[in-house]
Symmetry: C2
Subunit: 332 residues, 2 copies
């Protein structure tokens, strides 16, 4: 161990973030105190929700502090331990990404078995990303077999799992929207019944063509015109699980859509926002289902890997732009 590099928030972005909002800082590798461990991070997650934490507003998680390391999901190998139940060499999942070496209390780390799946999978399909898809679709939106499901940002980490899980749980028809022809092609390969590039025309029209009999469940990662289109397309008693609204995370003005919200009355629609943290009750069923599907080769997950902690800001900007196919990860 020589030195540790970490990414600090240098300034709060106004609108779209830039590289200037971040700073690469070199520090010493930390030494664990009693009950603590030091983890050499192997992978860290960059997620759209982190954009919200860069604003100085009250929210469900506190904002990132200025001139301090960012944080987020990470996985790595324990290189020093002063904790009884975690040993050097263990692989642990924890919340202190955006740095090469993480110092944390052992209770804040969860040991995982690196023999079951590539360790990166614990940050994607087997982790919060997978549970978000699973809980949003099956618990929040309560998808039933035979229903038509629409998911936006469908080639992203969560969206691609939502579509596949929907099919595996018996959805009648699954439709995805994405931001490039290559992504649309990937969705078809993943088993989506229909997919469209939202650049090809108004989302409302593309969705109507893809879902001639309407939509029962909408899994929203985008907000804006996607949510508006979904509300228009939804059938009686349709449900929307609102997971994210990436379309507006960098907006400097409040968005106008959805202008058709009054349709929720006549169609008896339910729009429900959720955070995966409320759905830990599903973890056991989730792991059983997903591990089984992976074993049987029935569930695919894409990862877009960027190398080097110094490139983490660029990876984060990339996920906001939609450069990623599946989960965007930084290999530290």
């Amino acid at each position: 161990m020589t030195s540790n590099r970490e990414i600090h928030l240098a300034s709060r972005p106004q609108g779209w973030p830039t590289e200037e909002n971040f700073r690469l800082v070199e520090t010493d590798v930390p030494t664990p105190g009693p009950g603590q461990i030091v983890v050499r991070n192997q992978y860290m997650s960059v997620d759209p929700y982190m954009r919200g934490r860069m604003n100085d507003v009250k929210s469900y998680v506190p904002p990132f502090a200025l001139d301090a390391p960012l944080d987020g999901g990470a996985i790595g190998e324990v290189v020093a331990s002063e904790a009884a139940d975690i040993a050097v060499g263990d692989t642990v999942l924890h919340g202190l990404g955006w740095r090469e070496y993480a110092l944390l209390g052992a209770t804040a780390a969860r040991r995982v078995d690196p023999g079951v799946a590539p360790v990166s999978a614990y940050l994607s399909v087997l982790g919060m990303t997978g549970l978000t898809a699973y809980a949003g679709l099956l618990e929040v939106a309560a998808m039933r077999p035979g229903e038509t499901v629409f998911v936006s940002a469908a080639a992203g980490a969560v969206g691609s799992l939502v579509g596949q899980i929907a099919k595996l749980k018996g959805a009648g028809r699954v439709i995805g929207s994405a931001g490039s022809p290559a992504k649309v092609e990937r969705l078809r390969a993943l088993g989506f019944d229909a997919a469209f590039d939202y650049h090809d025309g108004p989302v409302r029209e593309s969705l109507k063509a893809a879902a001639p009999d309407g939509v029962d469940v909408y899994f929203d990662n985008v907000g804006g015109d996607h949510l508006e289109a979904a509300i228009s397309a939804m059938n009686l008693h349709g449900r929307a699980a609102i997971c994210g609204m990436i379309a507006q995370y960098n907006a400097t003005e409040a968005p106008a859509a959805p202008r058709n919200l009054a349709l929720v009355i006549g169609k008896r629609l339910t729009l429900r926002g959720f955070l995966v943290g409320d759905h830990g009750n599903l973890r056991e069923a989730f792991v059983r289902d997903v591990a089984g599907w992976l074993r049987e080769g029935r569930l695919s997950y894409d990862e877009t890997i960027v190398d080097g902690i110094e490139n983490a800001p660029e990876a984060f900007l990339g996920v906001l732009r939609g450069d990623n196919l599946g989960k965007m990860l930084v290999r530290v």
Copy 2:
């Protein structure tokens, strides 16, 4: 019986309706065929939702036809019957208002006991209006004792019942908004803990002042800035029952609000549209509760009565303007 007068839709309103959109038509009093009855209407209901049916758009109920009588809730006395189970002199509730004499199949009428309550009450507190308030608050929004409830258009037919039922079912704090000082005063008399006139300033600020600890349940009759304010004020896991959006029924441009919809994610809010017709399962409990509260003098209901079928269009315009305190009815 001499002649029958009824109100036809003469043209479809653009924006706010005017008297010119309606036509008073004189016809013969109908004669019942087999299985039919003729009802001399005593009261008919004018409701905000009827505005939507004046547009020629696909919705959950078909639009009103041009050059034909409008329809809607009504109550009256049977004056001719060719049906086995309904007799001349019975009082029946049915769906053919906007006319002095209604001809209908006996199966489309529900006999009520005029000795239990004034017959007009079957169009308000004991009817669909009351069940709308009851179901929306207790089933759709699933209000729990101790919670803070906000209701818009709170001096209207549904809103005034929502607030009172909330208190009767143990709400911790009930807040109402209305459109005049007299209405605000009435809300206080009805037992609302706080009430404000939405003309007095931005709804968001008025609501924040009235609900310093936030709102758990929002019963929406208004939409627009009221819904936006409620979303901002709502606590974690808050629920909105979306009953109406009167603010935009006459809008000629799509409304922009709520611009803060992304808050549903972090706060895990549920917005759910509903129609009373889906909640017939509650009718028995509703009648038992409401009849009990009325008997004990714990529930008040206001009625604003306009006389004469020829004044029904004006009464309808009045309810859109908010001229009414409680239920707006036409005494035919």
